[in-house]
Symmetry: D2
Subunit: 134 residues, 4 copies
């Protein structure tokens, strides 16, 4: 896809991203695109990417999208998230494209997840934005 963006300023080390190979490849005004390779360690007994992999990527994509429209020094927490799985994923790169649906303290975002140019999952997440020291 496109090349990885260095987010060291906004996003310090994210252990779960390192574990799963999640990378930010695009950021816009209220949008973000993140990618993740399908690796054997994240598969289910049927050799497919486990739902939690899709979930981790989609959730992270919303967080990054929110970071583009939030003040510095805020923390974002997922209140809730829902994913619909449309197609199994077995190989290649998974790409999540997130979009902020509403700005404010409570921020919902939607995510489309693609694999090999096919829509494989759709998610909606709701975040709450809080001050860093709470």
């Amino acid at each position: 896809m496109s090349k990885e963006i260095n987010l060291n300023d906004q996003f310090p080390k994210v252990p779960v991203w390192d574990l799963m190979g999640i990378k930010v490849v695009e950021m816009g005004e209220g949008t973000a695109t993140l990618t993740m390779p399908v690796e054997e360690k994240m598969t289910n007994p049927y050799g497919m990417l486990h739902g939690s992999g899709v979930y981790a990527l989609a959730d992270s994509a919303v967080a990054v999208a929110i970071s583009t429209v939030s003040e510095k020094g805020k923390q974002f927490f997922t209140i809730e998230m829902k994913v619909n799985y449309l197609e199994p994923v077995t190989t290649g790169i998974v790409e999540a494209r997130a979009k902020v649906l509403r700005k404010g303290r409570i921020v919902p975002g939607e995510v489309d997840v693609y694999n090999e140019n096919k829509l494989v999952a759709k998610a909606i997440a709701t975040y709450i934005i809080v001050d860093e020291k709470r």
Copy 2:
């Protein structure tokens, strides 16, 4: 908690369980309890367990609960899942208690996730049961 159950017959190797340390500790008629340790590799930038860890455990708990009421030789796929996060999790063991809400081809299940005896997340998932060779 209780000791791990050997599920080799019903659940072959599950790579994502090995990665995250997910274990089945109890199974009943349409119910299952699974545990997972909070490990640094699954944390977010704030030092909390990432939502995808809670998700992986909860989703797996529903799958195991469904296995207790399904015929042999079936495969289970998550159609959709929604998680509400109630409290952050930073340490110890996370435990998910799942219950099948309705038997059939379309099987919804609910999950309560606990950490240190506190309810930290609540989820609903919908599975579809299909024949092994489809």
Copy 3:
């Protein structure tokens, strides 16, 4: 079931309750039970109660449950709600039993919906509590 509770103090006129026949029959600490008759006007083309009827009852049940643990002079808004439909409903009384899952400014609640002593739907809703004049 039990007799209707007069909520004039806490719940002023609620037009949608009048339209659908929704009544509060029980309130506890963080819990509430509401009922609704299945009426022809709220049915779908198959003669079943439309999902929006179950939804209205379940959403209202969470609101009433929240009212039992909130300060006076607050307003409650649904941020999001998800319903899983387990069985069709065609006749009789529908009863929703709601429970607050976490107190605070962001309040998630769960609801079990019964018809003829059978679980027919399960829902999770997230509310935000705000001051009356915002």
Copy 4:
């Protein structure tokens, strides 16, 4: 908006549509747009359209969108639906634009709900398609 489409062939009398004033104004390949007026009878105690009104419109929009890609003689049932509320609705016309996300026996759809040209809600629903006599 645009003029109402006559759906008597595909959609027989739908009582809940009559009650709420729901009308189909556009249908495409896997898409549909439905409208509903904000009427006092469907409001909450704050004078806003109750969530169940938005829900009824959004759910119906997905059903109509599915009808455009389904064989005749099938019935559609909502397995589950989730709505995120972005803005309160107090007046005018509400419009729901639904799109089928995947064809098959299990059909997820997404819906954007607008009021006065503003996105006020976003929903995802999952339907199951069954034969008429089951």
